[in-house]
């Protein structure tokens, strides 16, 4: 039979088990960002959004106000020169989408200067689906996740006053030159009267991969083919005319691919590409139905920019990974709030 362990044996065993458990727990705590060098977490972004816009259970943490839409994309085949993605072969792909207002308050009153979003998913829920979340801006306001986070912190509502500290935003732009440069460009492109006549841009660069394996940096945008109804009065001054227009008939945009060169920045969406870059008209987006947010429609779709078909690959833009991470955390939280 085995020997009876002595005191030294018990100490040896306790030391071995203790050392293992210490390493195990330390590893877990470091993974959770509780110990070790601190880093930006998705939760920190959700908290920063809530500090700026309040907590609204069941809604998206950002772009909380929105309407689901549906339609299709008619590809003319021109995009196939750049990418093998099925969506660019000649033919029709079904599309689900969501128009939205930037910010975390689902009851926000529409204002012309508020960022307008359009999330789209081509070919949902297939294996080759393509999701993109676009904005009516010429460039993205921030060059890095840290800049985006610092902006949110500067937007936080000051307790007691009910509004953000204006000096905090001034300090933010002073200490973030790329954000300040981006704001200058954005101000040169005032918003159009409505959603229907807005240009929506993907802003982040992606790589399109052709049949011969050539990787081309590409940015995409949607060019409207109609005027917008004038803004109405009241809190839904932009959404009301959009919904009326969609109920009256389809709205259309051209999907335009801007072809970058090796010298064009792919990791910084605050920097515009030169205006003379070649563009490819890839086809026509038609949106013809509108819905209120409900179970099973675009409310429950996470417009994760890293959901890409074969033929489109992410670039080195750090915002893509950051957006994917924060969207996932927000999606988990709101699906829970809509379940319980």
């Amino acid at each position: 039979m085995a020997h009876t362990p002595g005191r030294r044996d018990l100490l040896r065993g306790a030391a071995a088990v203790g050392a293992f458990l210490a390493v195990d727990v330390a590893g877990l705590l470091a993974a959770f960002n509780w110990i070790g060098p601190s880093r930006l977490t998705p939760q920190a972004f959700l908290d920063a959004f809530n500090n700026a816009f309040g907590r609204h259970p069941g809604f998206r943490t950002n772009h909380a106000k929105g309407v689901p839409v549906a339609g299709w994309f008619d590809s003319n085949g021109n995009g196939a020169e750049l990418s093998t993605a099925a969506v660019f072969a000649p033919g029709r792909t079904p599309v689900l989408g969501r128009f939205s207002a930037a910010g975390g308050n689902p009851q926000t009153a529409d204002a012309p200067a508020t960022g307008r979003g359009l999330g789209l998913t081509f070919g949902f829920p297939g294996g080759e689906q393509w999701r993109t979340a676009m904005l009516n801006l010429p460039v993205f306001p921030d060059d890095s996740p840290q800049s985006m986070y610092d902006r949110l912190v500067a937007t936080a509502v000051v307790p007691g006053t009910g509004r953000p500290d204006p000096a905090a935003m001034t300090r933010f732009y002073a200490s973030h030159p790329p954000a300040a440069r981006a704001m200058t460009i954005i101000k040169q492109h005032p918003a159009t009267p409505g959603f229907a006549d807005s240009i929506f841009s993907g802003l982040n660069a992606f790589y399109f991969v052709s049949r011969s394996g050539v990787r081309t940096p590409v940015r995409w945008k949607l060019i409207p083919l109609q005027q917008a109804l004038p803004p109405s009065s009241g809190p839904d001054a932009l959404f009301d005319p959009l919904v009326r227009q969609l109920r009256a008939g389809p709205l259309r945009w051209r999907l335009v691919l801007t072809v970058g060169t090796r010298d064009d920045p792919t990791n910084d969406a605050t920097l515009p590409w030169p205006a003379d870059r070649r563009t490819v008209d890839a086809g026509l987006l038609t949106l013809n139905s509108v819905d209120t947010e409900a179970t099973g429609n675009a409310r429950d779709i996470n417009f994760d920019p890293l959901v890409l078909p074969i033929g489109i690959e992410p670039s080195d833009d750090p915002l893509l990974s950051a957006r994917s991470a924060v969207y996932a955390a927000s999606y988990r939280r709101r699906t829970g709030e809509n379940t319980l």
């Binding site: 085995a2 020997h3 960002n33 689906q129 950051a322 991470a325 996932a328 988990r332 809509n338």
Partner: protein
């Protein structure tokens, strides 16, 4: 003390499968906990995590077949009747959770509307309907199983260390290769 006999070993295939699972599960758990708590590199970590999950699922199917066709070697006498019951229970629990966890992850991505992409480009079929509530329940389950695995695996490793260092029954040598034969 040094006359403790070397215990009977698992078959070489069982030992290879065990250590391969250990490495993959360790990596999948660590990457899983890091990726939901980080924004930089999140996309790449998720891709690796999903690929590890697919490998673990394949490996676990092989292991279940191997376990059903090969009875493990007898325990050393240092494992008593009561401890034996705990060992059987925890082994069954580990097999169940390791088989279940990748399937829950796969179903969870399916319920979010997909796509389910592993190894960078391989598209797996969806195994659950698009349903945000189903997604959330599976997402919570995925976390609960992950924490349970952390506890059960920590208990498993602690028990083997205790037997090897305090009881000196050479228990770990049932699962080791040549390096265990020195004494």
């Amino acid at each position: 003390m040094t006359d403790t006999p070397e215990p009977k070993k698992f078959t070489p295939l069982s030992r290879v499968l065990h250590w391969l699972t250990a490495a993959l599960v360790f990596a999948a758990l660590l990457i899983g906990f890091v990726m939901v708590n980080t924004i930089s590199g999140h996309g790449a970590l998720v891709m690796v995590h999903k690929s590890l999950g697919a490998l673990i699922l394949l490996l676990m199917v092989v292991r279940v077949v191997n376990r059903l066709t090969h009875h493990p070697p007898a325990w050393p006498p240092t494992i008593g009747a009561l401890e034996g019951k705990v060992v059987v229970l925890s082994e069954n629990l580990l097999y169940t959770l390791l088989l279940l966890q990748p399937l829950v992850g796969w179903a969870m991505l399916s319920a979010a509307g997909g796509p389910v992409v592993v190894f960078g480009a391989l598209r797996l079929p969806r195994i659950a309907p698009f349903d945000a509530q189903v997604f959330w329940i599976l997402r919570q389950t995925h976390s609960v199983i992950a924490y349970t695995l952390m506890v059960v695996i920590a208990a498993h490793i602690s028990a083997v260390l205790w037997h090897t260092f305090a009881l000196r029954d050479r228990l770990i040598e049932r699962m080791t290769f040549a390096m265990g034969r020195k004494r």
